[in-house]
C-alpha cells in the first residue's frame, strides 16, 4: 500500500468547554478526491481551520508529504502545500481578482497593473475561466463570482492538497461541471489530492473516490464511492434514522382566505409587472436561475427595494414598500417578516447573545412601559428556541459561537417570533445540513398550518418541489410560470426556469 499524502491521527480541538473535534483520524491519498460529510456542528469547519493553519489542534498529529507537520499559520500551511477555499469567503473585498491572486501567491512581485492582470487572465484561462472582470473589486461581485475568484486564487499557487469547504453552496448548478473538471485537473497537474466538503450528496457521489463521515468531532465511517449508501450515511451523520429527507406535505387549505396580494410590481432594478397572491395556510415557492429577479422581488416585499410601480396588499392594508418597518408591522400583530440568505450580515447581530437576537424584533411584547421585563423575555426566547430545537443552555452565548446551522435556526426563531402573517424565506437553507433542513421544513409547514402564508425562494429545486403547494418561476424579472399540484416536478420547474417554451 502506498503512503498517504496526508495522515491525520487523533486530532482534537476544544473551544472553551465545547469540544469541536474529539478524535479525527483519516488518510488522504494522492490522486484521489476525498469527501467529508457531516451535520453543521460536526466539526468539519474546525478540521478545515486546522488543515489551513488558522488554528492549531490541541491533540493529535498530522503527517503531510511524509513528515510530521503542525501549521502554525495560514502562511505555513500554504507553503507546505495545502491550499484552502474557506466556506466563509476570505478574499479581500476591496481588491480585484489579480490583486488577490498576487497577495496570496508567493512568487515574484509584479508592480505593474497590466502584467498582474495578464498573469491573472492566463491563470484563469488555464483553469477554465474564459472571461473575467479584471478591474472590479471582488466585494462588488455576486457571491457566485466571489466564490469562483476564491477557487482561482487557491489553485493559482502550487499545492499538493486542495481543501474545498462547501464550494458549491454559492455556485450555480451549471458551474459544478466546471468545478469537477478543475478538481481533476488539480489532481493531475500537482499529483495532488482534494478534500471536498459538501452537503449535496449528488456532488459527493460525483466528485469523491472516498467519503469520510464525521459526527460530533469524530470520523465515524469511511466508505468508498461504490459503497456510498445515502440513507445509511444520513443515519451516521445525525446518529438516528430519518425516514425521508422531506416531511409529508400538509394539504393546502380548502377555504381560501387571501393573505397577500401583489399587483403589477415593478422595480428600478429589473422587476417588471409581477402579480400573484398568497392564501392563508399556503407555502408558495419562487424558483429561478441566479439573477432572474428573485432578489429584487424579496427586497421589494420586505420594504428594501426600489419600487417604481404596483403595490402589495396584506389583507386589506396597502403596504408602504419604501418603509421596512411598516412592512414588518402595518398593524398590531401582522406583517411580513424576512429570513435573509446572508445570515451573517443581515440576519443576526453576531456578537449579541442568542437571547438578544431572538427577542430583538419583538421587544414590545416583552416590555412594559418601554422597559424590558427579563422574565417575560426569558420565557419567550426559551419557547422559541424549543420550537426550533436549539439547546436552551446556549441562550446567553453569542450567536457567533454557534455552528452555521444553529445560527440559521436562531434567525428563523427571530422571524417566527414576529408572528407575521407572511414569512419570506430567501434561500433559508443554504449551507445547512440535512438534519437542520428537515427541521426547517417542519417549521415551515407548521407555520403555514397556523393560518399564515409562506413565500420561499430556494436555489435547490428539489426543496421547492417537495415543500411547496405552489411554485412560481421567475425569468428575466417576471413570473413566467405557475405550477400547482400534479404539475410540480423538478423537470417542469427547471424547464420553466431556463425559459423553455418561450
Amino acid at each position: 500500500m502506498t503512503t498517504p499524502l496526508m495522515a491525520l491521527d487523533g486530532l482534537g480541538k476544544s473551544y472553551g468547554s465545547t469540544r469541536a473535534l474529539r478524535d479525527v483520524s483519516l488518510q488522504i491519498m494522492a490522486g484521489r478526491t476525498h469527501g467529508l460529510v457531516g451535520e453543521n456542528g460536526a466539526g468539519k469547519s474546525t478540521l478545515v481551520k486546522i488543515l489551513s493553519g488558522a488554528v492549531l489542534p490541541d491533540t493529535g498529529a498530522i503527517e503531510f508529504n511524509g513528515s510530521a507537520v503542525a501549521f502554525a499559520s495560514p502562511t505555513a500551511a500554504r507553503e507546505a502545500g495545502v491550499s484552502t477555499v474557506f466556506q466563509e469567503l476570505s478574499s479581500i473585498p476591496d481588491m480585484t481578482l489579480s490583486e488577490n491572486m498576487q497577495l496570496q501567491a508567493p512568487g515574484r512581485w509584479r508592480f505593474g497593473r497590466r502584467a498582474r492582470e495578464a498573469s491573472a487572465r492566463a491563470t484563469a484561462a488555464l483553469w477554465g475561466v474564459d472571461v473575467i472582470p479584471v478591474d472590479r473589486p471582488l466585494g462588488e461581485m455576486s457571491l457566485r463570482d466571489q466564490q469562483i475568484a476564491e477557487i482561482l486564487c487557491a489553485v493559482a499557487r502550487p499545492a499538493r492538497l486542495l481543501v474545498l469547504d462547501e464550494p458549491t453552496s454559492a455556485l450555480l448548478p451549471a458551474d459544478v461541471d466546471w468545478l469537477h473538471r478543475l478538481v481533476q485537473r488539480f489532481i493531475d497537474v500537482n499529483d495532488g489530492a482534494v478534500l471536498f466538503i459538501s452537503h449535496m450528496f449528488d456532488e459527493i457521489e460525483r466528485f469523491c473516490d472516498t467519503v469520510h463521515v464525521q459526527r460530533n468531532g469524530v470520523v465515524v465511517d469511511t466508505v468508498g464511492r461504490d459503497d456510498f449508501d445515502r440513507p445509511r450515511v444520513i443515519e451516521q451523520m445525525i446518529g438516528r434514522s430519518l425516514e425521508s429527507a422531506y416531511p409529508t406535505r400538509v394539504a393546502p387549505p380548502d377555504a381560501v382566505e387571501r393573505m397577500l396580494q401583489v399587483t403589477d410590481l415593478s422595480t428600478r432594478d429589473g422587476l417588471h409587472g409581477v402579480s400573484f397572491s398568497l392564501a392563508a395556510g399556503e407555502v408558495v415557492g419562487i424558483a429561478g436561475l441566479d439573477g432572474q429577479g428573485q432578489h429584487q422581488l424579496f427586497d421589494a416585499l420586505s420594504g428594501c427595494g426600489a419600487v417604481t410601480e404596483g403595490g402589495v396588499h396584506l389583507r386589506d392594508t396597502a403596504l408602504r414598500l419604501s418603509d421596512p418597518r411598516h412592512v414588518l408591522r402595518p398593524r398590531r400583530g401582522a406583517g411580513v417578516a424576512l429570513v435573509p440568505a446572508e445570515r451573517k450580515t443581515r440576519g443576526a447581530v453576531l456578537d449579541w447573545t442568542v437571547r438578544k437576537n431572538t427577542s430583538m424584533s419583538v421587544l414590545r411584547r416583552v416590555s412594559r412601559h418601554g422597559v424590558i421585563r427579563d422574565g417575560a423575555e426569558d420565557t419567550l426566547v426559551r419557547k422559541l428556541l424549543d420550537g426550533v430545537q436549539v439547546d436552551p443552555a446556549k441562550i446567553d452565548d453569542p450567536v457567533s459561537s454557534l455552528s452555521g446551522g444553529n445560527q440559521q435556526k436562531v434567525v428563523f426563531a427571530k422571524a417566527i417570533a414576529t408572528d407575521a402573517d407572511v414569512l419570506l424565506l430567501f434561500d433559508a437553507t443554504r449551507g445547512v445540513d440535512v438534519g437542520t433542513k428537515h427541521e426547517i421544513y417542519r417549521l415551515i409547514a407548521d407555520y403555514a398550518s397556523r393560518g399564515r402564508a409562506v413565500l420561499m425562494y430556494s436555489t435547490e429545486i428539489p426543496e421547492l418541489v417537495n415543500v411547496c403547494h405552489r411554485i412560481l418561476v421567475c425569468y428575466d424579472g417576471a413570473i413566467v410560470a405557475e405550477l400547482v399540484g400534479e404539475d410540480i416536478s423538478e423537470h417542469t420547474v427547471m424547464a420553466a426556469a431556463v425559459g423553455v417554451g418561450r
Binding site: 495560514p74 502562511t75 474557506f86 479581500i92 476591496d94 490583486e99 488577490n100 512581485w109
Partner: protein, 332 residues
Amino acid sequence: MTTRLIHLAGNSLTVPAAFVLTLLVVYVAWAPAVVTTDLWGFTIVDASLALAFTAAGLAIAVLVGGLDLSCAGVIALTNATVTVLYGPGPTQQILSVLAAVAIGVAAGIVNGSLVHYFGLEPVVVTLATGFVLSGCALLVLPTPRGVTDVEGFSVLDVISSSTLGVPMGLLLLVALVLSWLAFRRSRWGSRLMAVGSDAVAAANSGVPVGTTRILGFAIAGGLYGTAGVVLTSQISGGDTQLGAGYLLAAFAAVVIGGVRLGGGQGSVIGAVLGAVAVTVMVNVVFILGLATYWSTIARGLILVAALLVQALLVMVARRAQSHSTFVLGGVR
C-alpha cells in the same frame, strides 16, 4: 467618452482634485495678486506641507484599519524635541531630525502593538498615547521658544527654501506621493490594504496581520514626526500648543481625500490633496472677508459639500457599472 466619465466618477481622487481646483480658482479670482508673488508657493505648498504629511500618515493608519488620534501628540513632541536638540553642525542637525522621525515611528510601533497584541481599540489606544506624548512635549519644552540660530548651512532652512523658484516643500510632496505610489504596488503595500479591508480574510490569505498593522502605525508615526520637523522649520521654533490644531484638520483632509474611515480603501495622494484643499479653504474663507463665525460655518458647509459630491459620484459609478461576470469554459 461616457465610460471614461464613469471611470472618473469611480476614482476616489476625482473629488479632492476637483475640490482643490475649484478652491484655487475662487482664490485666484478673488486675489489675483497671489499668483505673481513668492507668496504663491508659500500660501499653497508651504502652508499645507505639515498638514499634508500628517494627513498622509493618518491616511495610512486609517487604511490599515485604525483611527489614529496620536498625531497631535507626536507633532507636539517632535516639534519640541527638534527645537531643543537643534544646533550648529550638520551632524547635530541631522540627528535631531532623525530623532524626531524615530520618536514618531516608536510611538507608532507602541500604538500598533497595543492594538494588535492586546486587541485594544485603536481610537482609545492612540488617544491615550497622544495624551502621554503631549505631556512629554511639555516636559521637553515647558515654554515656547525659537530654534538656536545657526550660522551657515541649516537643515531646517533648507526645508523652507526654494531652488530655482521651486519650493523645497513641493519637492517633498512629490517625493511623498512617489513613495506612496511605489509602496502601494509593493507586497507590503498590498498587505496594508488587505488588512484594512478585511483582517480575517487577510490572515486566511497568508498576510501577517500583526506585522502589517504595526508597520502601518509605524509609517504613520514616522510621517507625523516628519510633519513635526516641517512645522519646526517653518516657525523656526517650538510651541507645544500647535500640535493640537492638526488632529481635526488631518481628519478633514483624509475624509475629503476619499479615504474610507473603515479602512482598506483610499490613497495617500487623496489625503495630500485633501490637506491642500483644507489649507486653501481656510485661505479662501479668509480673503472673502467673512466674519469669524461665518468662516467657521462656511468651513463646515464646504466639508459636507465635499462628502456629498463624493457619495453622489459613488452612486453614479455604481449604477453605471457593467454587470460583467465570470464565464466558465473547459479546463484543459
